[in-house]
């Protein structure tokens, strides 16, 4: 796995580059932009892959200039903030978006590395099952969340967002790690089943509402907690050190000293199982 800090590498000769032909506010759905779909294909074959421009079925070649062949490394350039589902369900390779990304980017992915130089839309990494997503900017609502009607959100993997995120980050997440360096919106970790949400900036109001298990870590200012959480004690969580070591290895500029405890531990939500925890850095 590559270094998160230098993941947004300049375009290399071994990647397929997609360059948006023109900017448009019309939504595009392009889940075919995935290392799994591109691997082994020529430029012509990639250009024939389908996409939706609004409700019209088009090809990637209609929307993008394509350069490069036979690889599972993809670079996307130009304005793709209205392009949905880039890297949707990807299982391998690397995908770098050099700019802002649209909604559902990296949703359901189970492997590989996805890097976004700018901001990401809603549903970033929704229901992902593995791999790494690294966002240099911020992200919208429901990061790593579960789609409506689905029982479980993110199930494995790592999402790092350097900016702020919107509401309900980690909605119904089951496993995995979400790291937000900026602020989180309302209801972070709502209905969490398990997993870890690490918030280095301000943790939004009412964190962990309805959570059964799982961990929300608040390193910023003390969050507004729901009454269904009880104070449990003050301690130095060793497991958090393991996470930090892991993130340092991944290239995130953190230090053990920066995140050294102690932490106040609140357990809840007692309207649910009550086995979740919110750790608030002292």
């Amino acid at each position: 796995m590559g270094c998160l800090s230098c993941a947004a590498l300049a375009r290399t000769s071994t990647e397929v580059t997609l360059r948006r032909r023109e900017s448009s506010s019309i939504p595009i759905e392009a889940e075919t932009i995935s290392p799994d779909r591109f691997r082994g294909l020529s430029e012509t074959q990639i250009a024939r892959l389908p996409a939706y421009y609004g409700r019209r079925l088009v090809t990637l070649g209609d929307l993008f200039e394509i350069e490069g062949v036979h690889t599972d490394q993809i670079g996307v350039e130009g304005d793709v903030s209205h392009v949905k589902k880039i890297g949707y369900g990807m299982t391998r390779g690397s995908l770098t978006i050099r700019g802002d990304a649209g909604p559902h980017t990296g949703a359901l992915m189970s492997g590989g590395e996805l890097t976004i130089d700018g901001d990401a839309g809603d549903w970033l990494g929704a229901q992902m099952k593995g791999g790494v997503i690294n966002v240099m900017g911020g992200a919208g609502n429901f990061v790593g969340g579960a789609y409506p009607g689905e029982a479980r959100g993110m199930n494995r993997g790592l999402i790092v967002v350097r900016g702020n995120v919107g509401q309900e980050a980690g909605l119904r997440m089951r496993r995995g790690l979400i790291v937000v360096l900026g602020a989180t919106g309302d209801f972070p970790g709502a209905h969490m089943i398990a997993g870890t949400l690490l918030a280095l900036g301000r943790l939004g109001p009412r964190p962990g509402a309805g959570m059964k298990r799982g961990t929300i870590v608040a390193l910023g200012e003390a969050p507004e907690l729901l009454p269904a959480f009880r104070y449990s004690g003050t301690f130095e969580p060793v497991f958090l050190r393991f996470y930090i070591q892991h993130l340092i290895k991944e290239g995130l500029m953190l230090s053990q000293r920066q995140l050294a405890g102690p932490y106040l531990r609140y357990v809840g939500d007692f309207n649910e199982l009550g086995k979740g925890e919110i750790l608030v850095h002292v």
Binding site: L158, R213, F235, E236, F239, Y243, I244, Q256
Partner: protein, 295 residues
């Protein structure tokens, strides 16, 4: 051949296939990490009587441990994977989990694992918490000073046990000094341990006995006080013999440890360096002393 005036016998050490595991034991301070690791690897000198052979490697700085705290690698060797699981369960449960501020992580990057944390978690009485990060599952078990963090599975791999050499000296004092010098050189070799007290064994054994039910007995050919009573294999003037036994996670670790130890043992008062074998019939690995010394 002679090395620094000491006779190196033309023989070989015979070593055996074992299963090895490496744990990283951490704690809030270097002292407590060392204590936990020493206790977990305690009374593990010989597979014959202890069920496993174990020892520690040089301490690790915080930046090289999984949780960024001071750590000590602890190595364990058994004859089977099943035995490894049983030994680790007991030793981590009784020696590490009980030790203040400790945590225990897998230190081998291999696919084959034995269950440790996944069994110890039941100590948590329903309050244990699982954390899964990049293919590694940790168990957080509530204990009276906070939490004991232990990794679910510990890696095991085929390893090598029973590398050895004998130091035959004019006096007990000279022999012990030579053995200590050898161990001091050998502890610098990673992935190898000398499981006996201080790395040195004085009660070497042979695998026979005159008594029924007794499978091993005193290594009489190397006991100086038995001269005149039975056949001994000692050079003239040798009054003390010390053996150093080495286990390693691979063949190379044992070889490097022997290569470090044998020259270091060739000091004042040492008459001969020899090694134990079974004629090459029992062990898969042979370490010829002359080749080791020549490098």
């Amino acid at each position: 051949m002679k090395y620094q005036g000491v006779e190196i016998e033309d023989t070989f050490a015979e070593a055996f296939e074992m299963w090895g595991s490496r744990l990283i034991i951490t704690a809030a301070t270097p002292g407590w990490a060392e204590t936990a690791a020493r206790v977990a690897t305690g009374l593990a000198t010989s597979i014959i009587g202890c069920g496993c052979e174990a020892g520690v490697n040089r301490p690790l700085p915080p930046e090289r441990t999984p949780d960024g705290r001071p750590g000590v690698p602890a190595l364990f060797f058994t004859t089977s994977k099943e035995a490894m699981e049983a030994q680790l369960l007991t030793r981590v449960g009784q020696g590490v989990m009980t030790s203040p501020t400790s945590a225990c992580f897998n230190g081998l990057n291999v696919r084959e694992r034995v269950k440790v944390g996944s069994r110890l978690r039941y100590f948590g009485d329903g309050f244990q918490v699982s954390k899964y990060v990049e293919g590694r599952r940790l168990w957080r078990i509530p204990v009276m000073d906070g939490e004991f963090v232990v990794e679910e599975g510990m890696g095991v791999r085929p390893a090598v046990g029973g590398g050895n050499f004998f130091i035959m000296a004019e006096t007990q004092e000279a022999g012990l000094a030579a053995a200590e010098a050898a161990v001091a050189a050998m502890v610098e070799v990673p992935d190898a341990i000398m499981p006996f007290p201080g790395g040195i064994v004085r009660s070497g054994s042979k695998i026979s006995s005159k008594y029924k039910g007794q499978h091993v007995s005193s290594n009489t050919p190397y006991c100086p006080t038995l001269r005149g009573q039975t056949e001994v294999e000692l050079p003239e003037g040798a009054e003390a013999v010390f053996e150093i036994v080495v286990d390693g996670l691979d063949e190379g670790a044992v070889r490097k440890a022997l290569q470090a130890g044998i020259p270091a043992a060739c000091g004042d008062g040492v008459l001969r360096i020899s090694a134990g074998n079974y004629g090459g019939k029992l062990g898969k690995y042979q370490y010829h002393l002359h080749k080791l010394v020549r490098g």
